[in-house]
Amino acid sequence: MPVQNMEKIFQDKIDAEVRIEPKDWMPEKYRQTLIRQISQHAHSEIVGMLPEGNWISRAPSLKRKQILIAKVQDEAGHGLYLYSAAETLGISRDEMIEQLHSGKAKYSSIFNYPTLTWADMGVIGWLVDGAAIMNQVPLCRTSYGPYSRAMIRVCKEESFHQRQGFESLVVLSKGSEEQRAMVQDAIDRWWWPSLMMFGPHDSESTNTEASMKWKIKRFGNDELRQRFVDMCTEQVKLLNMTLPDPDLKWNEERQHYDFGKINWEEFWNVVSGNGPCNKQRLDARRKAWEEGGWVREAAKAHAEKRAVRSKREAA
């Protein structure tokens, strides 16, 4: 069949909301776009374990320690689902990890900010997971089957984390003066980076058009960001806290909140490697991988020995 026909069949399926499966024909660019996006998402889960992992040893109660450890563990699980989804497109997990470590592949820039107080755990749940969910819920209906199924599981757990995060902020916001100050400070530090999680303005975003057509993506960056601002502006009132934006105000006409200008210079700086923790995060991942090398080799060597032995016994 000529490629044009294949492309037509492919696009028809997409338009009819039929999921594309690993064995189906797909345009090379679709495959590449998905590999890039899914692996980037997987890397974000794995790197995202680090800023929260930073507080596991210091969690202030046994219950909070349990919740935090379980959450970070869930992120590892999300990484696993997503690497598996990407593998169905013909790339191995080791290749993807190599791309992460070499800097070729990206991960969400939000994880290049430091976690400085316990309140950051709650605020990350609320704002960072909140923004992630806003981005990800539409991906549950994305056109590629394995990705959309992975996202359904991910989103379910993320919503749970977001509620837990907000709940912990409610507790802190009813606590001592220092606890309340901690929350406000954490909101002040995470608010703008969270808004940056939706990516550049649609007008400046590459790849958006093709991704829309292929239904990898379903909403523009600015649209999702606006929804997020609207949502958080309401929620922050429940905490008796404020968002660090003097320009934030209700626009009766648009029926949305107007908000201030994002510092895109900071955004591009962090994306290109110049964030507070970029080097620290990648170094931590590389170190874990390098120090685990002998463990992975031992496991492989042992499995091979066993295989030989059971073959010999069978013979």
Partner: protein
Amino acid sequence: MSTPQLFLYNLHLADNALMLAQRNSEWTGHGPVLEQDIAITNISLDLLGQARNFYQYAASLYNGFDNDEKKAVDQYVPRLWKTYNRELEEDDLAFLRDEHQYLNLLIAELPKGDWAFSVLRQFFFSVFQFHQYQQLQQNNDAQLAAIAEKSIKEVAYHLRWSGEWVIRLGDGTDESNRRIKNVLADLWPFTGEMFVGATFEAINVSLLKEAWLQKVQAVFIEATLEMPAAKWFQSGGKEGRHTEHLGYLLAEMQCLQRTYPNVTW
């Protein structure tokens, strides 16, 4: 067993689980491969759950004590909590005691080391804990028996998982074999303490040694490891005499509770 002793025994069991959970959770996000990062984190979570059960039970016992009983365990109760004027809670016990008030086995507090250290430590500990909880399931104290019964399935998994890793590393590459032999020499002196009973222990731990040795031996054979000949063992944990490592662990673990006392988190 008297109720003050039961209180101390709960602390001992809880402290064991908490310290090892704390150490294992240092792997979270830093494991050698994603699946094992998840696995050792799971063990951490299981142990943390066990610790909570024991601490909660200890706290409820204490809150029901009469004055004589309170006095009998006074030296193990956090000084700072006494200024709070409220009932004792699990977190007071976990986060507010001084170093010498912790009663865990020394093996549980040692730094995580490399993967070989962590899995071999877990194996030694889990074999012991499995037999310990098996006995505790029969205990006259219904609450203790219930916690043990609830936890033993988890422990059986920890034991299987860590035993498989001991075999994998012992019978893996030259490097993994060398590494696990090294850490075996480090860890072995910390195993003897498990079998030397303290007055607060509800079971006769010395009777568990034979079964422990048999299980270790069986796994070591598969792992091509030899049982160490060394007969000298470290001690002190059950009396609150710890290694130099515990102080650092506590400084980190307790810092928020110490800096912001008596608030809700």
